[in-house]
Amino acid sequence: MYMKGPDQVPLLKVESISKFYGRRIGCHGIGFELWPGEVLGIVGESGSGKTTLLNCISGQLEPSEGAVWYASNGGVIDMCKAPEPQRRLAMRTEMGTVYQNPRDGLRMHVSAGGNIGERLMANGLRHYGRVRRRALNWLEKVEIDQERIDDTPGTFSGGMQQRLQIARNLVTGPRIIFMDEPTSGLDVSVQARLLDLLRGLVTELDLSMVIVTHDLAVTRLLAHRLIVMKDGKSVESGLTDQVLDDPQHPYTQLLVSSILQP
């Protein structure tokens, strides 16, 4: 669990982020703080601006308004205005992004070992043996058979591809992971296994995480806090259990009541 010390600063501070696509609103006036070790869930229906928000705060999309302050190891930087080299360095060492579609996050024609090793080599590791050892180590951690290290992700199942993406991002020991619908497209048993793995890694590595999903079960399992989005705006936020057990906004009530009870 995360702890808020008196002298700590939030890892990520988002100040009223807006993104407009012409006259269309992507997301509007959203702000929150993310503390070390905290998992934040962003839920909402499709088209509500979840992914836009995630791309804005992870430095992949320039927001129209607002600021994202990130407390990197080298001091606080504004992810929207920092010079590109600094921003990209932070993005490839201290941050990670797991995409909904593994094809966006993996190099499909590069072996699993190469995929995991890419960030290490990008950060200056020039020793094949060490890259290889770290890759094997991470394959084991994400429960992929080590013999598959030289196979390309194309030969992996959907769940394995997602786990490989996670390994590829975690290999440099980042502090924040951004996840965009990591479990959609996986069947229920595989989802459960992936979530279990994620929960383990978050506690083990003291990771902070922003997880975008439309699946309330995922947030219930992983997220400490929740932001509910509708039409690009945040309609409700708070502790996960609080929001899910006692939804205030009509839209959240609708969302919660729409879960099928088996």
Partner: protein, 318 residues
């Protein structure tokens, strides 16, 4: 320049075959100026690919249009041109490019590496050490070393700008994990002056060490891709490798069947249907010089004749 050209063509040995109606060295002066500006910029930023307005040339893309344009912009009436293709002076491409310049510029051409001031090459660097003052022009098919790993041109440019070359090592990693060694045998990527990763054009990796701190100016022209880049004299050129898998060049258990060289790049030639083969130097000029030298040792009378031809005299001034 035109006046000089006239003088040259009157005194030069090739004046009979210089074509009428073309500007000196085929390209118009405006274009040459544009290419020279590009070359200056390329030399100023070693290894950086400078875009230029590549022209249509009277030969197809892939036959050396980039190299020809660079040579045409550099060449003057006093220059001596050598053209090689796979190390050989007598292959079709080399012969026709040499003829192109002797007909459009009336310059002297040679097969002797030592005598040339400009050497245009495809796939090889001559075995003879180049000296300061010479220019070697490479014909480049694909100038972008990151192309096959990252197909997005915009992203690749950004990677160059920010010196993000981790991805290049992913390629080498893949080679080792698949073949147990870095299997790339030609177009082996290099780091120029500690800054830009550069494709050395499809030369064998055997030639990569020759690029390091070479006294001659190296210019690379890619006609289809419209890029020129350069390595100034005495610039560090390092072949990329891993600490535990260092860069190595090819070695042969054989020596050249003609001249007996054990230090040159060898071509394997199949001589009959029974699978007999021989290994010979791919650099024909180097091989013939060594042969001439050997003959000189055997036949004292022959010595003066060769010396008169300039072949041996040139080799002495190392």
């Amino acid at each position: 320049m035109k006046k000089q050209f006239k003088e040259q063509s009157e005194t030069g040995s090739d004046r009979s075959c210089v074509m009428e109606g073309y500007n000196f060295a085929y390209l118009d002066e405006q274009t040459k100026r544009m290419i020279r500006r590009t070359i200056l910029k390329a030399v100023a930023i070693p290894g950086y690919q400078v875009p230029f307005g590549s022209r249509e040339m009277p030969l197809p893309y892939g036959w050396g249009t980039g190299g020809i344009q660079v040579t045409a912009s550099l060449i003057g009436p006093e220059d001596t041109l050598k053209v090689i293709d796979q190390g050989a002076d007598d292959t079709t491409n080399a012969v026709s490019i040499r003829r192109f310049f002797s007909r459009t510029a009336g310059v002297h051409t040679t097969t002797r590496t030592r005598e040339a001031t400009i050497i245009q090459t495809r796939h090889r660097i001559p075995e003879t050490h180049l000296r300061n003052g010479q220019i070697i022009v490479y014909q480049v098919p694909i100038p972008e070393p990151l192309r096959f790993i990252e197909p997005r041109a915009k992203e690749v440019r950004r990677m160059h700008a920010l010196k993000e070359y981790g991805i290049m090592f992913v390629k080498l990693y893949e080679d080792i994990s698949r073949h147990g060694r870095i299997a790339k045998a030609f177009d082996y990527p290099v780091l120029v002056n500690g800054r830009y990763v550069m494709s050395p054009s499809p030369i064998p990796k055997f030639d990569n060490p020759k690029m390091d701190c070479m006294p001659a100016l190296q210019i690379f022209g890619a006609g289809r891709e419209k890029r020129i880049y350069a390595v100034p004299p005495y610039t560090r050129v390092k072949s990329l490798d891993f600490e535990d898998y260092p860069f190595e060049v090819e070695r042969w258990s054989k020596s050249c069947a003609l001249c007996g060289s054990e230090h040159s790049y060898l071509d394997e030639i199949i001589t009959d249907d029974q699978g007999s083969r021989m290994y010979v130097c791919s650099d024909t000029d180097y091989c013939s010089l060594r042969l001439a030298e050997r003959d000189r040792d055997f036949q004292p009378g022959f010595k003066d004749e060769i010396r008169a031809s300039g072949a041996i005299g040139e080799r002495k001034c190392t």
